[in-house]
């Protein structure tokens, strides 16, 4: 671990009725790094992301943001902390242009009237900061953009708000080879710009191409969170599908010990979430 994590989840539990979807999950995201979140279908990736983004509330466990325990009860709480999610199905309005989409729901106004010039300038600056060179005009409708360009707009929308954590849900799932490369380059650049990036992906090539750390979920448990340089392709696949690989992953009984070597929350002691006044919780 080169730096303290910006966002840290400790012992997260989440159940839907009798079904426990997340079991004692630890997860940490560091600023300036891409953390890949991988796992098979139904492993709990989406649920974990929805807990972080405030769509679901957690049953127990602790979320620490920038060294302080926080409660995230609604998407607004998450947005206030600077956590933005780029959803798989993009959530863009085809009939609006790029600027309008980027500011949707958070329009800049002067008085009652929309402040279009300011919004357009901010959008241009954000896209320039991400070195996006592929869009012709900021005033073209999103419907006329390619899949990669749409993804770019969706990501730029998330970055616009001085966000600190950007979670990307399968950003390359629907893209061709060239566009995938484009988006991955953008993902890398977000991290290089100092953001903490969470990349959810099924594509191991993408994961190994851009990530600094890989967190692996298996049936609702975090089997390991490792530096990308310390694992091989085969190990990751094994951890995702079987929950363990050699000395890594879950130990024999699958209740405790849900951490491999190098995980962040190694010696977890369940801090009650009421201790909100303590600034830096020890690790």
């Amino acid at each position: 671990m080169s730096a303290t994590p910006l966002l840290e989840l400790r012992g997260i539990d989440k159940s839907f009725g009798p079904v426990q979807v997340l079991r004692n999950v630890d997860f940490s995201v560091t600023a300036g790094e891409v953390t890949a979140l991988v796992g098979d279908n139904g492993a709990g990736k989406s649920t974990l992301v929805k807990c972080i983004s405030g769509i679901y509330s957690i049953d127990s466990g602790e979320i620490v943001f920038d060294g302080r325990p926080v409660r995230i009860n609604s998407p607004r709480d998450a947005a206030a902390l600077g956590i933005e999610v780029v959803y798989q199905d993009l959530a863009l309005c085809d009939n609006l242009d790029i600027v309008q989409n980027m500011f949707l729901g958070r329009e800049k106004r002067s008085g009652l009237v929309l402040d279009e010039p300011t919004m357009e300038q901010m959008a241009a600056e954000t896209l320039a900061g991400l070195s996006v060179r592929t869009v012709k005009s900021l005033r073209q409708h999103v419907s006329s953009l390619s899949g990669g360009q749409r993804q770019t707009v969706a990501i730029a929308k998330a970055v616009l708000w001085n966000s600190r954590v950007v979670i990307l849900d399968e950003p390359t799932a629907a893209l061709g080879v060239a566009q995938t490369a484009q988006v991955l380059e953008l993902v890398r650049r977000l991290a290089d710009n100092g953001l903490a990036v969470v990349l959810i992906s099924h594509n191991m090539n993408d994961v190994f191409a851009v990530s600094d750390q890989i967190a692996m979920l298996y049936l609702g448990q975090m089997v390991a969170q490792l530096r990308t340089s310390e694992v091989t392709h085969a190990q990751v696949v094994e951890l995702i599908t079987a929950g363990r690989s050699g000395g890594l992953g879950l130990s024999g009984d699958n209740g405790d010990g849900a951490n491999g070597t190098g995980t962040s929350g190694a010696d977890r002691h369940d801090t009650p979430p009421t201790a909100t006044t303590e600034p830096g919780v020890d690790r």
């Binding site: 300036g32 085809d94 609006l96 309008q100 949707l104 929309l114 010039p117 357009e120 241009a124 100092g194």
Partner: protein
């Protein structure tokens, strides 16, 4: 490691888009039209063709008297269509708008004629009735989750009954109030028409030029100044011509003078400016387009979708109330047929003919005015030629069908070219 290592080295190309010229602007427009984004073009062409046909077929179509008639005949439908644009923008429909206007007109007649309230109380009550109707409809659609087609179809039947109940069955209630009657049957003095025209054109020019200057000063891509001036010029010519013709003497009786812009015209212009401002320049309007374009995306962007859906029905029914007031002003009475027969279909037709999509997400308030003009020309021209009601209905139906086909075809074409 958090330093932005790569950005500094890369070129910042986004703001350096090519500066548009008049030529590129025209080319862009033609490309958009070919790509299926035809905007007002079909309606404008249709209007010109229809006017040409009717003026050939009947001498009195192109007279100043008939020109004024077009405005007063089309006013109610146009105003109702303006409200419908909001509902159509969400991909919903309000089939009850016609009879909602009837109900509101009946409320107006009740208060002003039978109970002797002053006109402004009656007008406010009528509009409030419309707002209430719209709230109930919107609530049933957004919160209860009944499809708008069904809710408003039920309301269509029910309001027909409410009109009958309000005017105590069968008979009609006359509206004699001077102010209310004046909306449709009185004209402004010629000088006032000119003054309003000048103020309107100057206001439009000021807004357009200021926006252009503001954008240029900020280094944003702007359309060429020539295009801005061209638009201002076109507006000035059209408005000037219309005011000039309306200010001509159109009375056949030498003892009575009949000239000037009908009072209903500035009312329509005012509503057009108001609602265009709301749709284009406020966050609320932006959210209406967003909900119409992609409801889920709007919800995730933190927009209160239910509130937007309810509000458009409130706007629609309130505008229907205004339409009802205009209809009562024109007819001088309210009967069981006020807002009935073809009013609703004409209004929906006006919005769609003008270019508002039935699929949601695309449309402007101006579409209602443009489409309302087409409808008024058809209605008026047919009446002049003394064709039977049968022919008139068939022809209007065909025009509506043609407009809906243009909408569907251009939409398909737009999807193919990624233009929408």
């Amino acid at each position: 490691m958090t330093a932005p290592t790569t950005t500094a080295a890369r070129p910042l190309d986004v703001p350096a888009a090519p500066v548009p010229t008049v030529g590129s602007h025209v080319r862009d427009y033609l490309a958009r039209v070919r790509g299926g984004d035809m905007g007002a073009l079909p309606a404008v062409l249709g209007l010109i063709v229809l006017c040409a046909i009717f003026s050939v077929l009947h001498d009195s179509f192109l007279t100043q008297g008939n020109f004024a008639n077009l405005f007063t005949q089309g006013a109610a439908v146009t105003v109702i269509a303006m409200g419908l644009v909001f509902v159509l923008l969400l991909g919903e429909i309000d089939l009850s708008a016609g009879f909602a206007s009837g109900v509101c007109a009946a409320v107006l007649a009740q208060l002003v004629t039978l109970r002797g309230f002053p006109w402004y109380v009656a007008v406010l009550a009528a509009i409030a009735t419309g707002a209430l109707i719209g709230f109930v409809l919107g609530f049933l659609v957004a919160k209860v989750g009944i499809p708008s087609f069904v809710v408003t179809l039920a309301a269509f039947l029910a309001f027909q009954g409410v009109v009958l109940l309000l005017i105590k069955g069968g008979t009609n209630v006359s509206v004699h109030d001077e102010v209310i009657r004046a909306i449709e049957i009185r004209n402004m003095p010629p000088w006032l028409g000119w003054a309003m025209a000048v103020v309107g054109i100057a206001g439009y020019a000021a807004v357009q030029l200021l926006r252009h200057r503001n954008r240029t000063a900020r280094g944003l891509v702007t359309e060429p100044l020539a295009v801005v001036w061209f638009r201002i010029g076109v507006l000035a010519v059209l408005v000037g011509t219309a005011v000039h013709i309306l200010n001509l003497e159109r009375s056949h009786n030498p003892l009575v003078s009949l000239r000037g812009v009908p009072i209903v015209v500035p009312i329509i212009v005012l509503l057009l400016v108001l609602w265009t401002f709301v749709l284009n320049r406020t966050a609320y309007g932006r959210h209406i387009y967003a909900v119409g374009g992609n409801r889920e995306a709007a919800r995730r962007a933190g927009i209160n979708v239910d509130r937007i859906r309810i509000s458009v029905f409130v706007i629609c029914s309130s505008m229907a109330a205004v339409g009802g007031i205009i209809a009562a002003s024109r007819g001088g009475s309210v009967d069981a047929n006020t807002g009935g027969s073809n009013v609703l279909l004409y209004a929906v037709g006006a919005a769609v003919i003008g270019g508002t999509s039935l699929f949601g997400g695309k449309g402007r308030v101006f579409d209602a005015v443009l489409g309302g003009a087409v409808i008024a020309v058809i209605d008026n021209g047919m009446a002049l030629m003394n064709v039977s009601s049968g022919v008139k209905y068939v022809f209007t139906g065909l025009v509506l069908l043609a407009a809906a086909s243009v909408d569907a075809v251009s939409r398909r074409r737009a999807t193919a070219t990624g233009n929408r």
